[in-house]
């Protein structure tokens, strides 16, 4: 991948120049993060969001930073990126706090993956061996040991994997803090302002269209999540293969003084909810997710989806039975074809991608912000994001589909 000649590197921007305006399309965690870093480096940057910033996938997420327990066969290439970003998170949270005085609830208790019956435990042992082969820091617990750590877990639990380094944040607070940090640093945020088209001239990005207005720009960062693919004006060669992947979720209110659990818990799933997770936030909300549904842009809740979430969560943590169900929602993961993010430059000079983060948008946000803003200001593609450029799809057997 090194020195890839197919990518036309951008020259570093002259940040003092009047024309050096950078438009970021999408005010989610990636758009705001990149915007904040760019604003810190002195760039003129505007984030456009067709709704309110941070209110789509960023808001719908569960805030888990879990590269260990989410490691999957065949996706080993993503692991170093996820670990690098995970290592950045604590500092990122601290920086946001000192910049905005908003505490994003970075929690370090860890994550427990539990098995309920013999088949589950066998599957977990398989997972555990896989994690060990990747040299990830995980620990096998008996059912007894798991319940010692989390006494409200179901009695049926027969074994668990404890992953001490899989942490979490409150993603909604992160969005709020990033928005404040971005604005404090001089960034411009235009909400309820839809970019309807990217305008190119001689194959290069020249402007963005907003309703009747055309705004000249030096560069466009496309961070529009599940909507990234279908933006008008994108040259075909630079169109990211991203689709919406629906997830239904619910929140249950625990007593924040006396929560049922303090670790993030993962349990066995089914065909609708591949695995159930329960993420306790410090304000007592217990986030339970999520379905994985190929339903296009539909974000409706279904009785079946919510039922599966409740049933699977109750199997693991029966104590939720009497607690208030305070919220239910569905969001759209921006899923790329290989579930890994699509980052960096394209064959259209001036068009930079930061999309396709699938279920890892919160986890990968600090690294995405840093790597994309570094690229825009220096013209250099960091080695971390080299494997995640758009051109990896060119050799795909179905690229022409």
């Amino acid at each position: 991948m090194q020195g890839n000649p197919s990518i036309l590197n951008m020259a570093p921007l002259e940040l003092g120049a009047v024309a050096a305006m950078i438009a970021i399309i999408g005010g989610g965690i990636c758009g705001l993060g990149i915007g904040w870093r760019l604003a810190q480096s002195g760039a003129k940057v505007t984030v456009y969001d067709r709704g309110e910033a941070g209110m789509e996938a960023t808001w719908a997420a569960a805030g888990m930073l879990a590269p260990h327990v989410e490691a999957e066969h065949g996706e080993e290439e993503l692991l170093p990126l996820a670990l690098e970003s995970r290592d950045m998170w604590k500092g990122f949270a601290r920086e946001l706090h000192s910049e905005t005085n908003i505490d994003v609830d970075y929690r370090e208790e860890g994550t427990l993956v539990v098995g309920l019956d013999r088949d589950d435990v066998e599957h977990l042992e398989h997972r555990s061996a896989y994690f060990e082969s990747l040299e990830l820091d995980v620990e096998w617990l008996s059912g007894y040991e798991a319940r010692k750590r989390e006494p409200h877990l179901a009695r049926a639990i027969g074994g668990a994997i404890y992953s001490p380094l899989d942490h979490q944040v409150d993603n909604r607070k992160v969005a709020e803090a990033l928005k404040a940090a971005f604005l404090n640093t001089g960034g411009k945020l235009k909400e309820h302002t839809e970019v309807t088209e990217v305008v190119t001239s001689n194959g290069k990005v020249a402007a963005v269209k907003i309703a009747e207005e055309t705004v000249a720009v030096e560069a466009v960062v496309l961070a529009a999540g599940a909507w990234s693919r279908n933006l008008a004006g994108l040259p075909e060669i630079s169109r990211p293969p991203v689709r919406p992947l629906k997830g239904q979720m619910i929140a249950i209110q625990m007593d924040p003084e006396n929560p049922l659990i303090e670790n993030v818990i993962w349990g066995p799933g089914n065909g609708v909810v591949p695995s159930i997770y329960l993420a306790p936030k410090s304000d007592g909300r217990l986030i339970v997710g999520a379905t994985v549904e190929e339903m296009g842009f539909d974000t409706g809740l279904t009785a079946g989806g919510v039922m599966e979430l409740l049933r699977l969560a109750w199997d693991v943590l029966p104590g939720i039975y009497d607690l208030p169900l305070v919220e239910s929602w569905a969001g759209l993961r921006p899923a790329s074809r290989d579930d890994a993010p699509i980052l960096g430059p394209t064959k259209t000079p001036g068009l930079v991608l930061a999309t396709g983060h699938h279920r890892n948008g919160i986890l990968l946000a600090p690294l995405t912000a840093q790597a994309i803003s570094d690229y825009i200001t220096t013209g250099e593609i960091s080695s971390s994001i080299q494997p995640f450029l758009l051109d990896r799809f060119e050799s795909s057997v179905a690229a022409t589909a």
């Binding site: 065949g74 190929e294 842009f297 074809r337 579930d339 589909a401």
Partner: protein, 261 residues
Amino acid sequence: MDAKVANTDFSIAGKTFSSRFLIGTSRYPNQQVMMDAIEASGAEIVTVAVRRVSQESGGEGLYDLLGDRFHLLPNTAGCFTARDAVLTAELAREALETNWVKLEVIGDDETLFPDVEHLLRAAEELVGKGFIVLPYCNDDPITCKKLEDIGCAAVMPLAAPIGSGMGIRNPYNLRIIREQCSVPIIVDAGVGTASDAAVALELGCDGILLNTAVAGARDPVKMALAMKLGIEAGRHAFEAGRIPRRLYATASTPTDGAIEL
């Protein structure tokens, strides 16, 4: 491949296929792996759970990626009654413009075994409505025969429970089904690895439909290729005709003319 040694083609409802491998689209690590695995499998028929996959995905959905290049076979996964299954098949016919359907009527959540009563009812209704029906059924010769008599274009007995990877649990039943049915027999569910697929074809089954054994393998693309080769090997062995089993050795080299020392 040399025509003399290639597997013979097989037909379902008058349509001829050169691959005896039918593959599913669920539970792959991601869409890229799915496409690469389907490519490696050589399959021409690809099944899709029509209830679970929307057609509106802005150009990156399953139908966008696969629709032009494969024979998409909608299935009625998740249906528990004949009524459900018939409605789902009709929905699929509208949406995908195909009258082919893989008919699944599940009897129970834990085992995912078919509900035979509802399956027969749904099959009869769908055949009456002009569908090409490929029913997922038990490895029960009587049920298979009834499905054939109803007018199903193939029968698809399970080898073991869906997703279990337990392999061919009852080869004797499959042999009986082979002897009694003249429609294609496609083993659907339970295949865990390439040798399972080979065994099914050696028994005279015409094809294999599977999903989890590939999607859940450590390397799905490689497993798709292994299954393809297993199916081809099994079919070759069936066409070639195996030798009878015997307890004692027979020397492959005659002893005539051996030097006596």
